[in-house]
């Protein structure tokens, strides 16, 4: 594969993993703008474990997901008390605190960043991404996913039909944190260097942005959203400094045409229905 393509692809896949970390709680109406904090936690945890403990990669990655998930679990209780913009700010604050703390820990390089020795290349990242996609698609098709979407639409009513609102929300947030941790671990091992300044709130905001562009109603949204975000600027590469202006214009345009994201449930249902209409003879025969 061409070096350029593999470079772009890795960036896309990592963005996609983090997109799912935002998508999953997002499907339940939880805006996580602290996702970069979880990515950072995953990246540093895995880097430290593999550098200092010299444990096998599979172990360190799983453990770093676990660390990220645990912190997610702990922080989810206070954060889920808040609503709307307050939740946005609470999650931003969390992300900033993580960065603010990590930058002062000299054992993992502090402001200097932290080199990572074990290297992971595209195939492994691709496999992990595939696993994440399949996992989220599957999860969204379970009763858990149904409950999550119901909570997004109408929380009190969901509770009246037996959904454990808190349980489902906490689980979604925690799993999201674990996925973010995975994204971070892979990031660190691929780029061989982790530096907190690349895990700031801006990263979270952009991630949320492309998740929303893709659409939060279905698990297919992030695939498209991350593609728009990672690949569109590449298409405009020739336009040099106008590149981001075009990109912004396209975002505004997309949102004007598809305000609920590019991939919506209505769209999928319409496609599906068209599919069944396309084969009417069989149904008519029955």
């Amino acid at each position: 594969m061409s070096g350029y393509l593999s470079g772009v692809l890795v960036a896309y896949l990592l963005n996609l993993i983090i997109a799912y970390a935002v998508f999953l709680p997002g499907a339940g109406g939880i805006l996580n703008l602290g996702v970069a904090g979880f990515v950072a936690i995953g990246a540093y945890a895995s880097a430290w474990l593999s550098n200092e403990m010299e444990w096998p990669l599979a172990v360190t990655i799983l453990l770093s997901m676990g660390v990220s998930a645990l912190i997610g679990l702990a922080i989810s209780f206070p954060i889920l008390r808040t609503r709307g913009v307050y939740m946005v700010l609470a999650t931003i604050a969390f992300g900033e605190v993580v960065v603010g703390l990590l930058i002062n820990v000299e054992a993992i390089g502090g402001a200097a960043g932290y080199p990572v020795f074990e290297f992971i290349d595209l195939p492994v990242i691709a496999l992990c991404t595939l696993a994440v996609v399949l996992f989220v698609v599957w999860l969204m098709s379970t009763r858990f996913g149904l409950a999550l979407r119901a909570i997004h639409d109408d929380e009190p009513v969901a509770a009246l039909f037996g959904v454990s609102v808190r349980g489902v929300r906490v689980a979604a947030f925690t799993i999201g944190a674990a996925i973010a941790g995975l994204g971070g671990a892979l990031y660190g091992h691929h780029y061989a260097y982790v530096d907190v300044i690349y895990f700031t709130t801006l990263v979270s905001i952009y991630t949320l942005l492309y998740v929303l562009i893709g659409g939060v109603q279905t698990p297919w949204g992030p695939i498209v959203g991350a593609a728009v975000f990672s690949l569109l600027p590449e298409l405009f590469r020739g336009a040099t400094e106008w590149r981001y202006v075009f990109f912004a214009a396209v975002i505004i345009l997309i949102m004007a045409v598809r305000p609920e994201g590019i991939i919506t449930r209505a769209l999928l249902l319409r496609l599906k229905r068209r599919g069944t209409i396309a084969a009417p003879t069989k149904e008519a025969a029955q």
Partner: protein, 298 residues
Amino acid sequence: MDVLQQLISGLMLGSLYALLAVAFTLVIGVLNFLNFSIPGIFMMGGMISWGLMSQTNMVWWLAMAIALAACVVASLLVERFTYRFMKMRFGDATEHATPLVSSLGFLILFQGLVLIKWGPEMQYFPSPWQDPNLRIGELVIGLPQLASLILALVLVGGLSLLLARTGLGRAIRAIAESPDTAAMLGIRVNRIVPAVFIISGLLAGLAGVLFSLNYLQASPRMGDEIATLAISAMVLGGLGSVWGAVIGGLFLGLVQVMVIQFFGAEFLRAILWGLLLVIIVVRPQGVFGGSKISKGKF
């Protein structure tokens, strides 16, 4: 003496947060719309004034007036393509994520255009005055900051009166809840909403000009840092509460200065945001805020 200077510095810094927070809170409180383009408009206020002054030798007041006009136009542009567009198609702009995302798009757009025009460097902003500071003995008070504090207080006083007392305020609150229903009641949504955006754009631009005057600098990224803190100030004050925004802004300015004084700047980030996190979690609806919680779903 130094403690006093620090207190003053904190309040003055806070007053800039406050002005920008009011710009945010207007749009979010009145229209239920977290307008991410505001930092961009803030930046344009500073950069366009600078550009006109340094590149065409325009007198400062004219340059600033033109910059503010540009900010208003930009704000109206945002209104046209986020809020109005959504309202026309879906009745209620704020039920969707569109405004959030497209206003972020506008932020990127504004920054991109300024970058193309003037490049990414931080620019020296010439002061129209010999010394834009009030000096009382050893104490220094930035006049532009003082102006933004007074401006914030006056504007906020006026706005809160307007919102609470007049029919216009009632109409605006009706729009905030449901533009669709408001329109059905004959409220001229397409006239009031642009007006709110004009005020908000003007405030953001003004904050940008005052910022540049005070720190004698303008750069395409000057909005980045201040915006998150202004949003925090707004949220801390309670959404849509204009007084809350001012108090939140001043409070954050003070906290920031005190943390630097007593703990050092390296811990600023963790302490400031940690404190914010605790406050939000303890009072999930803002410190001074009513119970009104943005309905913004996506």
